[in-house]
Symmetry: C2
Subunit: 483 residues, 2 copies
């Protein structure tokens, strides 16, 4: 094995010029059987954290990754030496594993810029300034939203995150959609729009796609819905000075030679206490355990022999990904700050529904990032790249003035078009999935273990959830080997 070889492979379709930070890899050889203790499928945050933990316990571990890079839904590229965060990037209070990992790897959390006035763009594309966490709008709509939020938070506190299907009234909550709940509990048109916008921002999906039980679980797994929505004190509070992908790159470095890129897994066979993992190149890896650390909807595209139990298969048939396009614009400076603008945007007009200032600490350049979510993301993706850029920069100009309309650099990624992710931020649980098939989410199938942020009971859908799942699976395998 040639450790520490530096490589740059072809870019992933849809990702323009990924910042190809070097990582260790093992060069391809002929199709042979190799033996390890554990094969990890997927070099996202969950897969890498799991492999690293197992490696530290002395297990001979290999990570097989379909892409030419590590990080999964976390992707930091660069433009003229400036970081561009194209995937998951935020961490916030309560995410103890993420902060601990960052500290251990020598990475530095930075607060997301939040001082100054935020902007809310109305349905006609007119920006209005506001302070605090609730956009400027009519008092009756605000009251309406506040009351609905209180009801939602109250319901969320009843959820058993370890087993949502055991929560009080689980069947009823899981037979309703979040969209239907909003229609019934938010009474004003403007209030519904705001509430829906918040849901789109959290799930990058339309509220109609989500089970109410899942929405409540997801909020509860983060503490509260408020924690998901907040910048200061919430899920968007910090990001890493070195870029979020540095978490993945440094974990991969520690796994020197144990991460194999451009190695898509095609089949997993279990027989007589041994697992065989076959790649698209025809290589076969023999192992005592395999950890599948990819989103559920991709996990079911691997061929399993014997076939997976019906309930596990049925669950993965039901967990689609949300749709999100992340847009990043770079400027010579965060000039909006001089006008006392925070860079934070909520928009009822679009294409971006939410935006943030993600400039570096020294403000040596300016970064605005935005999210096009749910059906807006799909509509956006149908346009030509030129039209997409024009629509986003026009919106930035409406919000921050003509200078914002001409960024030095503009990049976007449509995560639904990425064949090795197929959406974002995370899997959506439609009605019935939790109550009818929930127990199959984490239950190992023989020597196959399921990792990934979707399998977490804490901060499901976030980097923290991915790390949490790695911790659980590592313990699962350790216990199996000890037993």
């Amino acid at each position: 094995m040639a450790d520490g070889v530096r490589r740059s492979g072809p870019s992933c379709p849809g990702v323009p010029m990924p910042h190809r930070r070097t990582t260790t890899f093992t060069p391809p050889t002929a199709a042979v059987h190799r033996s390890v203790d554990v094969v990890v499928v997927g070099a996202g945050m969950a897969g890498l954290a799991c492999a690293r933990a197992l490696h530290r316990r002395g297990a001979d571990t290999i990570v097989l990754e379909a892409r030419a890079r590590v990080g999964g839904r976390v992707l930091t590229t660069s433009a003229d030496g400036r970081l561009v965060e194209l995937g998951g990037q935020f961490i916030g209070p309560g995410q103890s594993r993420a902060y601990a990992l960052a500290a251990e790897l020598g990475l530095h959390p930075l607060p997301t810029h939040a001082s100054g006035r935020h902007l809310v763009e109305d349905t006609r594309g007119r920006p209005h300034r506001y302070a605090g966490s609730v956009p400027h709008c009519a008092p009756h709509a605000l009251l309406d939203v506040a009351l609905a939020l209180r009801q939602f938070e109250h319901l969320a506190r009843t959820i058993d995150c370890a087993a949502p299907w055991r929560s009080p009234h689980a069947a009823r909550l899981d037979a309703a959609t979040l969209g239907d709940w909003i229609r019934r509990h938010v009474r004003t048109r403007h209030g519904r729009r705001l509430f829906t916008l918040a849901c789109e921002a959290v799930w990058s999906a339309q509220p109609a796609e989500l089970s109410l039980l899942h929405a409540l679980f997801y909020a509860r797994a983060a503490g509260s819905f408020d924690a998901l929505l907040r910048t200061e004190g919430g899920a968007q509070q910090d990001h890493l000075a070195e870029g979020a992908q540095a978490l993945a790159l440094r974990m991969a470095d520690q796994l020197a030679g144990r991460v194999r890129l451009e190695t898509a897994v095609r089949s997993i066979t279990q027989h007589d206490g041994t697992v065989r993992v076959r790649t698209a190149d025809g290589d076969t890896w023999r192992a005592r355990h395999v950890v599948v650390a990819v989103p559920p909807t991709l996990a079911c595209r691997i061929h399993y022999d014997p076939p997976l139990p019906a309930e596990r298969d049925a669950l993965t048939q039901r967990l689609p990904m949300g749709s999100v396009v992340k847009c990043v614009a770079l400027y010579p400076a965060p000039f909006w700050r001089r006008e006392n603008l925070s860079g934070q945007v909520t928009s009822l007009c679009g294409p971006m529904r939410a935006a943030f200032d993600s400039s570096p600490r020294d403000a040596s350049y300016g970064v605005l990032l935005g999210f096009v979510e749910g059906s807006a993301a799909r509509a956006h993706a149908r346009r030509s790249p030129g039209d997409r850029r024009a629509a986003v920069t026009a919106q930035l100009a409406r919000l921050f003035g003509p200078r914002a309309g001409e960024p030095q650099h503009y990049t976007e990624v449509d995560w639904a078009a990425e064949p090795w992710t197929r959406g974002g931020y995370a899997a959506l649980f439609p009605p019935g999935a939790w109550t009818l098939l929930g127990p199959a989410l984490r239950r190992p199938v023989g020597r196959i273990h399921w990792a990934g942020t979707e399998t977490s009971t804490r901060w499901c859908g976030y980097i923290e959830g991915a790390l949490d799942s790695a911790h659980r699976v590592c313990a699962e395998i350790t216990a199996a080997e000890a037993g």
Copy 2:
């Protein structure tokens, strides 16, 4: 090519002793490129009908089928020379293509036995006799159900089957689940049970899993909900004397040498106006068009290059299959008829929720078939084969007396465990799928065309829908070639 070779391959997992009627096949050869006009993936009713229609128009067509048999969700086996229908079998009025195909292939529709009293089993497992189409129960529950049915039928008539997302109030109907609708519109506990039972029988799923819009579409695509529920005058009116799989076997015979069994498709590549279809054996077929005629949730397990458009992929992430176990018991005679019982059962107790008499016309032996559906099917499947048989035969004994508890032959198939179907009867559309992604259901992707009963605007989920989709795709390809 060796036409007319007879073969018997290994049985499909979960299917005990399939009745291996011979079909033509082409023997395996080394991995080579072969050229045809059209490759059809899947030898179910849609795939075979499509291949046959294209073949008749002179197109050089090959059907690649993963299983060792044709028929897909239609499967007729035999026990001691008696037919055992383990999959889809019923046809009914309005299904013009199915009757025409049966007639053309020399097959004979038989009415499903319906004379005599039906049975309804209450929650304590006590059978009650009734006549007509509505089970015996309290008048207020009956009125409750009747009013809800009327509302449902009224709503169903508003649906545009060609484009459900354009129906009036589509967004609202698609944000609700059928389960939630039942809870709100059926007021008595007993009424809800009956309505839910009817839904389980139609969709083999819990009402919470289905979008209300989809349930309305599905009913409308068959004419009405009543048409789906009825035996006489409805979807269960007839079955074929020769077994439903004879439709598939005879179509395959007409395609002499053009159906290749045990040939799973692993990838589909489109490039420069040519499609390449690669099988698990490593063979590559080159074609001008490919028809994917497998359920949506299996279609997304094929590897596509270039990757499918995000919207198509997102749709297939969202269309899981229902869960159903079909049980068949054989007796020396249909002895229940002598007690003026029709053999038709509706059960609030289970495991079977519905049963029918499917004995041959000459009553030379007796056949009772039953369906375990939705979450009951999953619970049933968790038990041992012996316990499953014991539970079903005990139920038959409760219903039809001790003789029914000791069938000469008993078979069941858990369709969710079948790796090349993964559920039944058909795909379920959860909330949001139709309105957010509906247009991607039938839209070809370059030279890839989508067939299967799920893509039909008429009798979606039935044999008729599969045949209808074949007709559409054949026209699609013909038009593409003419254009």
